[in-house]
């Protein structure tokens, strides 16, 4: 649950979501990541640190510019958490549809009775 909390908090900010999006499929330096944003480098670094703490981003050790890369494991966990809710709503919508149909049939039945 703690991991999930951290993942959700990390994903709660649009800047951090955009950073993660731009890390899909490639590593990038902090400078590269900061480019699209109208904010200071330290501000972007703070967001990256939040993502690091949540385990969503890892920093390279070798290169001097310590490239950032994406670690998708926590987000896959989030997708697993969502699965029961998908089932809940799929089945609820099934039932909504069936209930609407039963109401229609009832109404049609009433109509037939009225015609008798």
């Amino acid at each position: 649950m703690e991991t999930l909390d951290r993942t959700l908090s990390a994903l709660a900010h649009p800047v951090r979501r955009q950073i993660l999006d731009s890390l899909m499929g490639q590593s990038r330096s902090v400078t590269e990541l900061a480019e699209p944003f109208d904010m200071s480098l330290p501000a972007v670094s703070m967001h990256i640190r939040t993502l690091e703490k949540a385990g969503l981003v890892t920093r390279g050790r070798d290169a001097q510019w310590r490239p950032c890369s994406l670690d998708a494991a926590p987000m896959r966990q989030l997708a697993d958490w969502l699965e029961p809710y998908r089932r809940f709503w799929e089945q609820s919508l099934d039932r909504l549809d069936a209930y609407a149909q039963s109401l229609r049939e009832e109404e049609a039945g009433d109509g037939a009775n009225a015609a008798d």
Partner: protein, 170 residues
């Protein structure tokens, strides 16, 4: 039903935002004004809310901003689950937005979600789109609810604020 397909790294191909939400769409052969009533009148809502086999012995909804939603679901084997939330938007017959926490029998809660329901006219039928967004995982919200109402409404007020600020940030 639209569902995001995962790419080979296990992530949706339309970005990380998609991981926090699910979107389901269903077309119901019924007039939109009536579908709205199925969502917002307790005697109707109780007939279909929840997974297959569940009944809803207690169901109430106040379809206005700040109104409460409270549904006690019962599974086939008699387990009861409380669903509680707050209505944020009610624009008949088009849009209903509410927060909802699905609580386990022991009062614990996994995630709180915001549900956005959009009803679109498709001739004589209605397209129902349900968007499920994860607001926050809360370990203590369930305990609050099991114990006393106060903590729970505080938690929901916090959630509503969070949701509002998130919308502004976008």
């Amino acid at each position: 039903m639209a569902r995001t397909q995962p790419t080979d790294n296990g992530l949706p191909d339309d970005g990380v935002s998609a991981l926090r939400e699910l979107v389901l769409t269903r077309t119901v052969a019924m007039d939109r004004a009536l579908v709205w009533r199925l969502w917002t009148e307790p005697q109707h809502l109780a007939q279909w809310w929840g997974p297959h086999g569940f009944t809803n012995p207690e169901c109430s909804i106040e379809p206005r901003p700040g109104g409460r939603l409270r549904i006690r679901m019962r599974s086939l084997d008699g387990q009861e689950y409380l669903n509680a939330g707050i209505v944020q938007v009610a624009e008949p017959p088009e849009r209903l937005v509410f927060t909802i926490a699905l609580l386990n029998p022991d009062g614990s809660c996994r995630l709180e979600n915001r549900i956005t329901v959009d009803l679109i006219e498709r001739g004589a039928a209605t397209e129902v789109t349900v968007r499920v967004q994860v607001l926050q995982a809360t370990t203590d919200a369930g305990e609050n609810l099991a114990g006393m109402g106060g903590g729970w409404s505080e938690s929901l007020a916090r959630l509503a604020e969070m949701a509002a600020s998130e919308r502004t940030a976008r």
